[in-house]
């Protein structure tokens, strides 16, 4: 049975799980933590750091430490979300060759999928260490509200990390799977997922035969814990400015320290009524005088600062219920997901809105990865009787004359599905028509996400409105969109499979996969070399320590003197190899070192 892992690629933290003996299990990382920070850094020495170590050095290396890359994945550089991220990030975001956003670290430009790939690779390594074997397949989760470009970019990130992403599923859906798996219940469930960077609400029906049917899903890709942190940072910065007249935002290192402190304070306020933010030597006054930031923040203050954020999530819940034509009373269970749902005010608001207390049985940080692992196992192994009926999160359609967007497959349509509609030409003697495939809910085409385009040519010349073109959209279970356009009069057809653009060309992607694979091999190799080197050093030290004793014991015999001479030569060569870092040479001397050490140990033991 092939192994498949489930990865929750979060904005702030990531988590990996696997199905073991029929039960989903979260895999802890080397440090014993069940979640790993979604952070990547490049050190001065050019070394890549991922996870906890990247987070630990973030303060001193803010400009080269990437956090919340998920907010940028699959987005255009010109999008307001990227603009927003540029304003709040300590690292540099630049425009890529395909109008995508890229990240500059120590002079090298990385695509966002490459950064995400580093995190995914870390998760893969965690799983491989735990399972003791290679892992090639994964189910990766994304916010329900991700569009196809963002999903494709996430898939690409998986490919760069050497993972075959067999399915992308929505985070709230994954949470519902984890909640309902193996429970044999029939319920309508709302999943409220307020994570580090995104907010999602999904309504699912858990039915007989292990069917999980998504009824509706909605959300906001720029509303999450980071926004709560930003409110605290603003509050701290403004207070500091009015006191000292200095804008802390200008100092990247100060900003990073503020960020950490804000997140810490926010978490603490989930369990305590008030906490102190204490940042000594935050900045220099300019008169060579160090300034400190010290301020008490209460839970009430935090709630006031973030009231509108919580209200926004409730508004989205209301809208989603309305779209699904459901009443609050139809929701039989509420599952809370994401670290932000630890905040008491969030729980209160949700309970108040739905009129019932949310379910407490699931771990908000782990449930998504568990669900991904369940879906992976259900896909690869038919003995799990479970099937997920997912929906399209966005309306799919085409751009028509005048820049108007015409939806063909409405959002929240269960996939697989297909729809067709007939369009006509908009100009006289128009012989070709460009079909722009878009995704989104806006009436104006430009507000939506462009997924792909193709041209239907050789239309007969006619006055406008005469030529009829039938456009058929099809989405299969893998979420792949195909579009077929047909001239109804001539029967001429043209079809494309819409591959969402992640901001990477196939060639770029291939290069990245290759180089990442190379790096992975290097990493494995260097880990091995490092091990050998350490072993060699240990042996050299041991021999060194025993040398005087042994020399003394065997000094009486010629044979002994000869042996110690030989040992001295071996030691010298091995030391030279270690200091040069010549791996081949170290390996060559390992056997001799081992033999010498054994011999020395034997001599000492015999005489003592």
């Amino acid at each position: 049975m092939e192994r498949v892992i489930g990865i929750d690629l979060g904005t702030t933290n990531s988590c990996v799980a696997v199905m073991e003996n029929g039960a989903p299990t979260v895999i802890p990382n080397r440090g014993g933590y069940k979640t790993t920070p979604s952070m990547v850094a490049i050190t001065e020495a050019g070394k890549k750091l991922v996870g906890h170590i990247a987070k630990r050095q973030a303060i001193t290396n803010a400009e080269n430490t990437v956090f919340a890359a998920k907010r940028l994945i699959g987005r255009k550089f010109t999008s307001p979300q990227v603009k927003n991220a540029i304003a709040t990030s300590a690292y540099r975001i630049v425009e890529g060759p395909h109008a995508d956003a890229r990240i500059q670290l120590r002079g090298k430009t990385f695509s966002v999928p490459e950064i995400s790939a580093m995190i995914l690779q870390e998760m893969r390594v965690i799983a491989e260490d735990y399972l003791g074997g290679p892992v090639a397949k994964a189910v990766v989760t994304v916010p329900a509200y991700f569009n196809d470009n963002q999903r494709q970019a996430t898939k690409d990130a998986g490919a760069i990390a050497g993972l075959d992403v067999i399915r992308i599923i929505n985070e709230p859906t994954a949470a519902a799977l984890a909640y309902g798996f193996g429970k044999d219940i029939e319920k309508t469930v709302a999943v409220y997922d307020l994570g580090g960077g995104t907010f999602d609400i999904s309504i699912l029906e858990i039915g007989a035969h292990g069917v999980f049917r998504v009824i509706a899903t909605a959300g906001d890709t720029f509303l999450g814990g980071e926004d709560f942190d930003a409110r605290i940072i603003d509050w701290l910065v403004e207070g500091f400015q009015s006191e000292h007249g200095i804008d802390l935002r200008q100092d990247r290192m100060a900003l990073q320290r503020l960020k950490d402190a804000a997140e810490k304070a926010k978490c603490e306020l989930s369990s305590t009524r008030e906490t102190e933010v204490n940042l000594p030597f935050i900045i220099s006054s300019g008169r060579n005088e160090a300034l400190h930031l010290q301020r008490v923040i209460s839970r009430e203050t935090l709630e006031q600062l973030c009231e509108d954020l919580v209200d926004r999530t409730v508004d989205i819940c209301r809208q989603t219920l309305q779209d699904a034509q459901l009443g609050k009373e139809d929701i039989e269970e509420i599952v809370l997901v994401g670290g932000m749902t630890r905040m008491p005010r969030v729980v209160e608001s949700v309970a108040e809105f739905f009129g019932r207390d949310p379910c407490k049985g699931v771990h908000p940080d782990e449930v998504v990865a568990l669900g991904a692992a369940i879906q992976g196992a259900a896909l690869l192994d038919t003995k799990h009787e479970m099937v997920l009926l997912d929906v399209t999160p966005h309306t799919l359609g085409i751009l028509t004359a005048g820049g108007t967007f015409r939806g063909l497959i409405p959002q929240n349509t269960t996939v697989p599905t297909s729809r067709s509609e007939t369009f006509t030409t908009s100009r006289d003697n128009q012989t070709a028509v460009k079909i722009l495939v878009m995704q989104g809910e806006h009436e104006k085409g430009e507000q939506n996400e462009l997924l792909g385009e193709f041209v239907l040519t050789d239309l007969r010349k006619a006055t406008k409105g005469q030529v009829e073109i039938e456009v058929t959209f099809e989405i299969n279970a893998d979420g792949i969109v195909s579009v077929n356009a047909k001239d109804l009069e001539t029967g001429r057809q043209q079809a494309i499979q819409v591959t969402a653009t992640s901001g990477l060309t196939q060639q770029e992607l291939k290069q990245m996969i290759d180089s990442s694979q190379g790096e992975m091999l290097e990493r494995r190799a260097s880990e091995e070399e490092e091990g050998t080197k350490q072993e060699a050093q240990r042996l050299i030290a041991e021999i060194d320590k025993l040398f005087p004793q042994v020399e003394q014991i065997v000094a009486s015999s010629d044979f002994g003197r000869d042996a110690t001479e030989k040992a001295r030569g071996i030691l010298q060569k091995a030391r030279a190899a270690v200091s040069k870092g010549d791996h081949a040479a170290i390996k060559e001397h390992m056997e001799a070192l081992g033999r010498t050490a054994r011999m020395f140990r034997g001599v000492v033991q015999k005489t003592s």
Binding site: A378, E385, V387, L389, T414, T417
Partner: protein, 540 residues
């Protein structure tokens, strides 16, 4: 009994089987009486007025008793899903569709039963309504609908076979899944279900009326007053057309109302058959003794029966069903055409026989009157609900019992109203189909509407247009287009429609002529001009 499940199987009687010696009840007798070696299971069911399922069971039992040859599957390959009865909508379990069986052997990882299920459903997509697709009754509650959908989804979603080789089944499964999802989404939402039910009701009503029209036509054309129960052309997919040697007029399906006796008395329920062979009368001391040779005689085609024969047959049927043994003497007495055998009985016995005969005739007549009354009452009730189709249906059946002037006049007037309503229903139905871009269905429904209201060129033009869009029967499209133009030669629009049909059919010269006329009639119509230019350039 499994083999009798196939509606096209023909049960064959075993020669020399003696029903009297076997432990068979009236039900078995009734079914056996309809088995003549030529009627299929479905026809036997129709003739006996019993539920098809019951008939299968009874036939199975008869086969066990040796009355019938063991069933062999019918050689006729019939592209039929099981008969969907639109009025009761029994959950449909499709089987043995008209698809290519070779697909079952296509290389791939799917189990055979899943393949069967996918193919059955896939090939029934056009045929089945949402309820049949999900296999639920029309009055199924939301929970039952959901459960049915989930059951199907759990088996038919391609994710259940992720990474498996599904071959040509993948796209079929996706198509089926899409449709069952639409069915579920429609039926699980109150408003949408109500709309859909309304549409189905319209469709059922027009279908019922189609049948009615068919019988009416048959009625006037056929010399026999009792059409045999058989497939109606209106439902060619449901029952196979009878073999040519037994070409019989279609008949209404048996009424579900009434007891067995009542049904047996209705002339349309039994097969025409040569009279039972005369047998020597049994001694009156042993009235329960059966005819010694109850051999079934195969009919030689649709022979009209003389009134006497008819009466005798009815009487016999009534007796059989009442569980009594028919005295051969009485049967013979009631059948003057049969050779009389001198009865060595006393005058008293003869008087008693006469009395009995009169009593039977009275009861037959009473039952007939009761039936007519019931039908007329039913018709009146339907009229009060403005359900003229049902009313006409009832009255037509009543007419088969007694062709009285008053009844006929009533029938004609109701029939007229029903026709009117039907045309409206068709138009509504066709508009719905058009909106769903179901061109094939829309074309067929417009065609029916045009038949029901032959004077309306608009309907004919719509039929022509829908058929053109469907593209499957351009001949029919041209016929309707021509009708529209003929009825209203001054309409440029109709001529453009017809021109387009001709164009699609490759009849360029005709297309040109129509379009020229259209341009002449409406010089401002850019579409017509446009098309004309195109046609001319196509001609070269």
């Amino acid at each position: 009994m499994a083999a009798f499940d196939e509606p096209t199987t023909v049960p064959k009687p075993v020669a020399g089987f003696d029903p009297a010696r076997a432990a068979i009840g009236p039900l078995e007798r009734l079914v056996l009486s309809s088995v003549d070696g030529l009627a299929s299971v479905a026809e036997v069911a129709a003739a006996s007025g019993l539920d098809a399922g019951d008939v299968c069971t009874v036939l199975g039992r008869l086969a066990e008793l040796g009355a019938l040859e063991p069933a062999t599957p019918s050689p006729v390959t019939e592209p039929a899903p099981p008969p969907p009865d639109p009025t009761t909508a029994a959950p449909a379990a499709p089987s043995g569709g008209g698809w290519d069986r070779a697909l079952l052997d296509e290389p791939g990882d799917l189990d055979l039963d899943v393949r069967n299920m996918v193919l059955d459903l896939f090939h029934a997509l056009d045929e089945f309504d949402h309820y049949q697709l999900l296999g639920v009754a029309r009055d199924a509650d939301r929970k039952a609908i959901k459960s049915a959908y989930y059951g199907l989804a759990a088996r038919l979603h391609t994710d259940r076979y992720f990474g498996k080789n599904l071959g040509s089944f993948k796209s079929k499964m996706e198509a089926v899944f899409g449709r069952i999802t639409v069915a579920h989404d429609t039926l699980a939402a109150k408003q949408r279900r109500a709309e859909y039910d309304e549409y189905l009701k319209d469709r059922d009503r027009s279908r019922a009326y189609e049948k009615l029209l068919q019988w009416a036509t048959v009625d006037s054309a056929s010399p026999t007053p009792m059409p045999r129960a058989a497939a109606t052309p209106a439902q060619p997919r449901i029952l196979p057309p009878p073999p040519p040697s037994r070409a019989v007029p279609p008949a209404p399906p048996p009424s579900r109302a009434g007891g067995l006796l009542d049904r047996a008395l209705q002339p349309s329920q039994a097969s025409p058959r040569a009279p039972v062979a005369p047998v020597p009368p049994a001694a009156p001391a042993a009235p329960a003794a059966p005819p010694s040779e109850p051999k079934l005689v195969a009919p030689a085609g649709p022979v009209p029966l003389s009134p006497e024969q008819e009466r005798a047959r009815r009487l016999a049927a009534a007796q059989r069903l009442a569980g009594n043994r028919v005295s051969a003497a009485r049967m013979v007495a009631a059948n003057p055409s049969a050779p009389r055998i001198a009865a060595p009985t006393a005058e008293a016995t003869r008087a008693a026989t006469e009395t009995l005969k009169v009593r039977y005739q009275d009861s037959v007549e009473a039952a007939r009157r009761a039936t007519i009354k019931r039908l007329v009452d039913g018709a009146d009730e339907a009229i009060s609900k403005e359900d003229f189709v049902t009313a006409a249906n009832h009255l037509r059946v009543a007419l088969t019992h007694a062709d009285e002037a008053e009844l006929r006049a009533k029938y004609e007037s109701v029939n007229l109203k029903a026709r009117e309503i039907l045309a409206d229903t068709y138009l509504k139905q066709a508009a719905y189909e058009e909106s769903q871009e179901k061109w094939r269905e829309a074309g067929a429904t417009y065609a029916k509407a045009a038949d029901a209201r032959p004077g309306d060129p608009n309907i004919a033009a719509k039929a022509a247009n829908a058929m053109r869009r469907d593209g499957r029967d351009l001949h029919a499209a041209a016929r309707f287009g021509e009708v529209a133009v003929q009825k209203n030669p001054a309409s440029a629009e109709f001529r453009v429609t017809l021109g387009l049909v001709y164009f699609d059919a490759g009849l360029l010269l005709r297309a040109k002529s129509e379009l020229e006329q259209a341009v002449r009639l409406a010089p401002d119509d850019s579409k017509a001009k446009e098309l004309l230019v195109r046609v001319k350039s196509a001609i070269g």
